[in-house]
């Protein structure tokens, strides 16, 4: 499948924003799981 330059730019922009949001969610989950582990030990 071929994409026009405009479509390629839009695909890259969306991939970048999705990757950024995914990274933020994963980082948040790391902090949350750490917090849960500490809270369960108390």
């Amino acid at each position: 499948m071929t994409f026009t330059p405009e479509e390629q730019t839009e695909i890259r922009r969306r991939q970048k924003s999705r990757a950024l949001v995914t990274a933020l969610i994963l980082g948040g989950l790391v902090v949350l799981f750490y917090g849960i582990s500490i809270a369960k030990m108390l």
Binding site: S17, R18, L32, I36, K40
Partner: protein, 306 residues
């Protein structure tokens, strides 16, 4: 029975969905009430839990409700194309393909139940799983397109969060959260039918058997009034049974009285032009305010009278 709506809806574009489309799939506006009632259920429970675990419980409730919303949109993509209110959602607008929505909904729902079970307790996780399945299977797939009573039974799905919040904190289910469940369950029909009265044409065009489209406006108005009476009783019952204090009791009595008055205005109205249905719009707007304040009073009662 109203015929099944057409399955035709636009195919997703070649450009993959934006993260905002995934957020839209979770119905964030609906989540507000779900998170609030879940949080209140957690806060009024007799046992307090660590704030991190409390946050996790509310997060799981929100993720579970988001998953249910995503699966609802996955199944109803064809209906959503036919209603102005929903035509710009990611699936009917062609910004996402159905398989992505299905994977997202199943993944999010499974994660929320698993996390609730591991971080809080099995009972809260089980009720969360039941609430997701109830909304998707019983309401969305089974009832919504088949019966005008869809909202009545489907309303149970929205009534679960307070029960889940309480169960997450205590590990059990008591009388107060059951009454809160009953309150939200009985609140749902007058809330949705007030809306359905003045946006009747939109649901009718999509082939959804909403009460006004099937039995007419007159019968719907009577049903609104009839459901409001047990709802008001369920709202005042926690005080009458000695489960809450005077702050909640007096507030709930006053608010329920106003709700009954507004329902009576809808019940006895003969207005047939949706554009002129002021009483119905007033009741719909008040019903949202009512639930927020009732649950807020419950927490205030617990905090101030503790």
């Amino acid at each position: 029975m109203i015929a099944m709506a057409s399955k035709a809806y636009p195919a997703a574009t070649v450009v993959s969905a934006d993260w905002r489309d995934f957020l839209a799939l979770t119905k964030p506006r609906v989540l507000t009430l779900v998170v609030f009632t879940g949080l209140c259920g957690l806060l009024v429970a007799p046992q307090s839990i660590h704030p991190v675990l409390g946050f996790t419980a509310v997060l799981c409730i929100a993720l579970g409700a988001g998953a249910a919303g995503a699966l609802n949109q996955w199944y109803e993509a064809d209906l959503d194309t036919m209603m102005a209110r929903t035509a710009n959602r990611p699936l009917p607008a062609g910004r996402m393909d159905r398989q992505t929505a299905l994977h997202f909904g199943v993944g999010l729902g499974s994660f929320s139940v698993l996390l609730m079970g591991l971080a809080l307790n099995v009972l809260a996780a089980a009720i969360l799983a039941v609430s997701i399945l109830f909304y998707v299977v019983v309401y969305t797939v089974w009832l919504k397109r088949r019966t005008p009573q869809n909202i009545v039974i489907g309303g149970a799905a929205g009534a679960f969060p307070a029960l889940i919040g309480w169960a997450a904190a205590t590990g059990r289910v008591d009388m107060l959260p059951v009454l809160l469940f009953a309150l939200v369950f009985l609140w749902t029909p007058p809330h949705f039918w007030a809306l359905a009265l003045f946006i009747n044409s939109d649901y009718a065009r999509a082939g959804v058997p909403m009460m006004p489209a099937v039995v007419g406006q007159r019968a719907t108005r009577i049903q609104v009034l009839l459901y409001t009476v047990p709802m008001a009783i369920a709202a005042v019952a926690p005080w009458a049974m000695g489960l809450t204090g005077a702050i909640y009791g007096i507030g709930a009595s006053l608010l329920s009285g106003i709700f009954l008055l507004l329902s009576a205005q809808v019940g006895f109205s003969r207005e047939s032009d949706p554009a002129k249905m002021k009483a119905e719009r007033r009741l719909f707007a008040f019903s949202i305010f009512y639930l927020f304040i009732i649950f807020g009073l419950l927490v205030a009662d617990k905090v101030l009278l503790a």
